[in-house]
């Protein structure tokens, strides 16, 4: 019986395929002290998340000092990519996510993933 059980365990281990994690979660936040010399005084791209109501989808995404108002995370990814094309901006331009306290965590994670999908190399959270 024990043998059968052990064989079944090996079978499941071999046949089961794990879903790959979405995006890449950075293990460490960017640190100033780690940058060489004095950092450039660039202004970050600021993404703001605001909860409008109690429903799951009742939130809004904003981009400080940019006209576009993405309606979802896919549109956010596209908008950030376009910003990277502007003079003075690129993937190294820091992106700061500022979420209100009542914003759902999965929206914050969605925003993070959208930034990574757009190719942002420096993503951080800011205080609302």
């Amino acid at each position: 019986m024990i043998d059968v059980t052990f064989l079944l365990l090996i079978f499941f281990l071999v046949t089961t395929s794990f879903e790959r994690a979405e995006g890449i979660l950075a293990g460490k936040m960017p640190q100033e002290s780690q940058a060489p010399g004095v950092p450039l005084p660039l202004s970050p791209i600021v993404v703001r998340l605001e909860q409008l109501g109690v429903g799951h989808d009742e939130f809004v995404i904003g981009l400080d000092r940019f006209d576009s108002v993405p309606s979802g995370f896919a549109e956010l990814t596209e908008a950030v990519r376009q910003i990277h094309q502007l003079d003075g901006f690129d993937r190294k331009t820091p992106l700061v996510i500022i979420a209100e306290d009542d914003v759902r965590w999965d929206h914050v994670v969605g925003c993070w993933n959208a930034a990574l999908r757009a190719g942002c190399e420096r993503v951080a959270f800011g205080e609302p």
Binding site: L40, P41, S43, G88
Partner: protein
């Protein structure tokens, strides 16, 4: 500021008493019919056959007898001593007479007594003496006569002496009392004193009639020779005349004796019946035509009064009507005059008789007749008007009582109201009338009257009477008595005010006024002011309203002037209310004109400068403080303008309008003051000095307005102050120098006369070392702001020019902080040092700036103060000094910190960002990075911190583009 006032508080007490002062509280006489003694010469001349008075012959004879007995001094042969003495008496030279009598005393005890009595009578006749003294002399004279009667009881002259004594007691001593009682009701004292006197008079006359009866019998028994001897000396004739005279006088004495007695007193009834018996036995007195008897009218009045008191109203009415009718038929003016008192009394008694008989309508008709008659005979006579008022009141009271008894309550109330209003109407005509009426009522009531039993007008009289009496006893020993009376007056007044009905409203202001007076005398000044204010504010038609308002403001001013009370808000409010009442409700009065200045001054003290200035403008030209009020107006306008400029600095229209007003008033003041200064060149040095000070201060105030940014006429301000040092006294110069130098400093700076400004700063600090700090700081802030503005605008040259003055100011501020910083409010050491370092930067002294900034930057970093405004100024200043000195690597992290931490709206952020990139350029950092930052910032913030900085960024961009292109 202490000022003189035209009416002092000490003057108030005396002035106030006028409200309740009476001319004759005590022994008053009714004008017109008062002299009731006029009848008796007529009696002598008519009924009693008008014989010469024997007594004078008897006295003369006695004198002659005595004079023969003594040795006559030599000079007596040339001097008639009797004539000399009579002349001295007639001229009131009693002291000379006394001296004469010491040298030449009359011989014998009788002559001495008679002479002593004459002396006392001369004192009594001397009208220059006080009434009390005269009455005391009269009492002594009568006492001497009584002693003489005891000592010389067998003297033939005793009958005449006794008659004279009784007559004097009745018509000299008792007259004021029975007049009061007969006409006005009289006081308790009147009743008490009259009873004592009339009892004496009745006794004297009774004894006289008894002695005369005995003497008649004795004379009847004399031999013919003895009788003829007496007859030749006219003795028989004398005692024959004296009998009827004594009986007639006794009848009147008995009548007067009934007046103070209670109705239940058996003596009263006995007296009245004896009088009627007398008339029954002497019917001729009532029936003999007046033209023959000369006393018919008087006898009828006496009979009528007696019958009224015996409740025989019909007979009494008949007597009075006959008396009046007979008197009306008298054509001889002298005779008419002789009976006038009796006719007046008959009319009064007729009204009383109808009243007592319940014939109220007839009483009212009689009253009208009385009023008409006395006006015809005496004109508007105050005494008789008061009597008429009292009479009317008594009629309506009786009417009210009758209605009440009949159960007609409403009518009873109506007559009750009419009764007190009758007197109130009498009192309304003039203040003196009211005093007279009050005095009469108060005398009758006494101080202990129960107000619950008094009508409203009597309550007013009681309050006034208590006040008056308190005034009489107001001295150190009698304070308790006085205070008790005043407290009672206040209590009665307060109760009256609390319960006054609409019909009593006309009495309210007077009660308020008298309560205020009582409170004042009691020492309750605040309460007094409040009551006076109520009168002044709410009862302008009341005759003493202006006085009340004036007292209120005087007393309130005294309270406000008391250092112990001055700070209390309620005292200030009280004073303000009092001032407002007098100036607003009594426009055009002298008081209003006088107190206007103080009203303005109080508003000034309360920092209501606009209102104060408006009130100062209304102070009339003749006022003692007119020039001062002009000066104070200038001051208030200036303070108001400064306040306006602080609160609404952008309201240029209003600020300039105010400045124009101020300028006009200031010019007018200086012109007038200068005119007076010329006149005062000789004498009154205090006034001269004060005027000079005002003129100097007014000029400085005007100059200060001219350097306000909104007015900005610095050249005119300098003109105003051009002769300040030469035209101003040393004391004024010391007082005003700091303000003058401040104005000059600002004016020089505005005019770009920076050298003059630089010179002015030390003078300014020297003028006011301790107070200079805040002003220097304010100037520094203004100038440094302008330097920054010039630099921001790219005008480096202009900025550097002003920066020199800024540096000088900064150095003075630091020096001031070193000297006074810990003691006086002003800039602190850190701020001063930062300012000094910044000023060094402005003028390009970067090393000095770095030295000053460095320790501050370390402290700021240690204390984490970089988020504070001063901390940021230190960091940016330090970084700037390093940058200017070429220490870019050291400066870069500081600029970078400021550029990345500060918000884009902060100008320091943009300058720091520029400096950050300039440092990187100087340090040969990657030009692409620098270009990327510039372009990113231009995308995000197209104006790049303003046109000047945007230009700098463009310049930097071109330089780095060139570097990038050349590799």
């Amino acid at each position: 500021m202490q000022r003189t006032r035209s009416i002092t508080a000490s003057g108030i007490a005396g002035f106030i008493t006028r409200g309740v002062k009476w001319r004759f509280l005590g022994k008053r006489r009714v004008s017109g019919p008062a002299n009731m003694t006029k009848w008796y010469p007529a009696l002598f001349s008519a009924i009693l056959c008008a014989a010469a008075v024997a007594s004078t012959l008897q006295v003369g004879e006695a004198d002659r007898t005595v004079s023969a007995e003594r040795s006559t001094p030599a000079e007596e042969s040339r001097l008639d001593v009797k004539v000399f003495r009579e002349a001295l008496k007639a001229r009131g030279l009693t002291e000379l007479l006394e001296l004469h009598l010491k040298d030449y005393p009359p011989p014998g005890i009788v002559a001495k007594r008679l002479m002593a009595r004459d002396m006392k009578l001369a004192e009594y006749a001397d009208l220059s003496r006080p009434l009390e003294e005269r009455m005391a002399a009269l009492a002594e004279a009568n006492a001497i006569l009584e002693e003489l009667l005891e000592e010389a009881g067998d003297d033939l002259r005793r009958f005449e002496w006794r008659f004279t004594l009784a007559h004097s007691i009745l018509y000299d001593q008792a007259e004021p009392m029975f007049t009061n009682i007969l006409y006005r009701g009289g006081s308790k004292a009147d009743h008490r004193e009259l009873l004592e006197l009339t009892s004496r008079a009745v006794n004297v006359l009774t004894r006289l009639t008894e002695e005369l009866t005995a003497e008649y019998a004795r004379v009847e028994g004399l031999s013919v020779a003895e009788f003829e001897k007496l007859e030749r000396r006219k003795y028989i004739e004398g005692i024959d005349l004296l009998g009827p005279r004594a009986n007639y006088l006794l009848a009147w004495a008995r009548f007067y004796d009934t007046l103070p007695r209670d109705h239940a007193d058996p003596t009263r009834a006995s007296n009245l019946h004896r009088i009627m018996r007398y008339f029954a036995e002497n019917k001729a007195l009532l029936d003999t035509p007046h033209r023959f008897s000369r006393i018919q009218v008087q006898a009828l009045v006496l009979a009528g009064m007696t019958k009224r008191r015996l409740n025989d109203h019909v007979a009494a009415r008949s007597c009075f009507e006959r008396a009046v009718r007979i008197a009306d038929r008298i054509t001889d003016p002298a005779q008419r005059s002789n009976v006038q008192w009796a006719v007046t009394l008959a009319r009064i008694e007729r009204v009383r008789n109808d009243r007592d008989d319940g014939r109220f309508d007839a009483a009212c008709d009689g009253l009208a007749d009385f009023r008409w008659a006395y006006v015809q005979e005496h004109g508007e006579n105050l005494g008789l008007r008061v009597v008429a008022g009292l009479l009317e009141r008594s009629v309506y009271r009786a009417w009210s009582d009758a209605a009440h008894k009949a159960g007609v309550v409403e009518e009873a109330e109506r007559y009750r109201e009419k009764s007190w209003k009758a007197l109130a109407r009498t009192a309304e005509l003039e203040a003196d009338d009211r005093d007279e009426v009050y005095a009469t009522l108060y005398e009758a009531m006494g101080p202990d009257a129960d107000p619950a039993e008094l009508d409203p007008f009597e309550q007013c009289a009681l309050i006034a009477g208590l006040l008056f009496e308190a005034g009489l006893v107001h001295d150190a020993q009698a304070d308790d008595t006085s205070n008790r009376l005043l407290d009672r007056a206040v209590r009665i007044g307060e109760h009256f005010l609390a319960s006054a009905t609409d019909s009593e409203a006309s009495l309210v202001p007077e009660v308020l006024y008298n309560v205020a007076v009582a409170e004042y005398r009691r020492g309750h000044i605040v309460d007094a002011v409040k009551r006076f204010l109520e009168v002044g504010r709410g009862h302008r038609d009341y005759e003493n309203a202006l006085s009340a308002a004036t007292y209120a403001v005087q007393l309130a001013a005294e309270l406000y002037g008391d250092p112990a009370l001055r700070g209390r808000p309620e005292i200030q409010r009280l004073y303000l209310s009092a001032l407002r009442v007098i100036v607003e409700r009594y426009l055009g009065t002298e008081s209003s004109r006088y107190w206007r200045f103080y009203y303005a001054h109080l508003l000034d003290e309360m920092e209501q400068y606009d209102r104060a200035a408006a009130e100062y403008a209304l102070v009339p030209a003749g006022h003692d403080h007119y020039l001062e009020s002009m000066f104070m107006r200038v001051r208030c306008l200036a303070l108001g303008l400064h306040a306006q400029a602080d609160q609404n600095p952008d309201d240029l229209l209003e600020i300039r309008r105010r400045a124009d007003d101020l300028s006009a008033v200031q010019r007018e003041f200086v012109s007038r003051a200068s005119g007076e200064l010329i006149q005062l060149q000789i004498g009154d040095s205090a006034r001269l000095s004060m005027l000079r000070t005002w003129v100097a201060r007014a000029k400085v105030m005007a100059a200060e307005i001219l350097v306000l940014p909104q007015i900005n006429r610095p050249e005119r301000a300098l003109e105003y102050l051009a002769e300040f040092e030469t035209a101003t006294s040393a004391a004024d110069e010391a007082m005003l120098a700091a303000r003058v130098w401040r104005v000059r400093l600002v004016a020089y700076e505005r005019l770009g006369r920076l050298d003059d400004a630089a010179k002015a700063i030390p003078a300014f600090v020297a003028a006011d070392p301790a107070g200079a700090g805040p002003t220097l700081q304010a100037l520094f802030t203004t100038l440094a702001g302008r330097v920054e503005s010039l630099r921001a605008a790219g005008d480096q040259r202009g900025a550097r020019q002003k920066a020199n003055v800024v540096l000088l100011l900064a150095e003075q501020i630091v020096a001031w902080v070193d000297r006074f910083g810990s003691d006086i409010a002003g800039p602190d050491r850190s701020t001063g040092t930062v300012q000094l370092a910044e000023a060094n930067l402005y003028v390009g002294r970067c090393q000095r700036a770095r030295e000053l900034f460095e320790p501050l930057a370390d402290q700021a970093a240690d204390a984490g103060l970089l988020d504070e405004p001063l901390g940021r100024r230190v960091l940016v200043g330090y970084a700037e000094s390093l940058y200017q000195l070429g220490e870019w690597a050291s400066a870069l992290p500081m600029f970078n910190k400021l550029a990345t931490r500060l918000q884009p709206a902060d100008p320091i952020r943009w300058r720091s960002l520029l400096r950050d990139l300039q440092c990187r350029t100087a340090l040969d950092h990657q030009p692409e990075d620098i270009l990327r930052v510039i372009r990113q910032q231009r995308f995000l913030y197209p104006d790049l911190g303003g046109s000047v900085l945007a230009g700098e960024f463009e310049k930097l961009e071109r330089e780095n583009q060139r570097r990038a292109d050349t590799g």
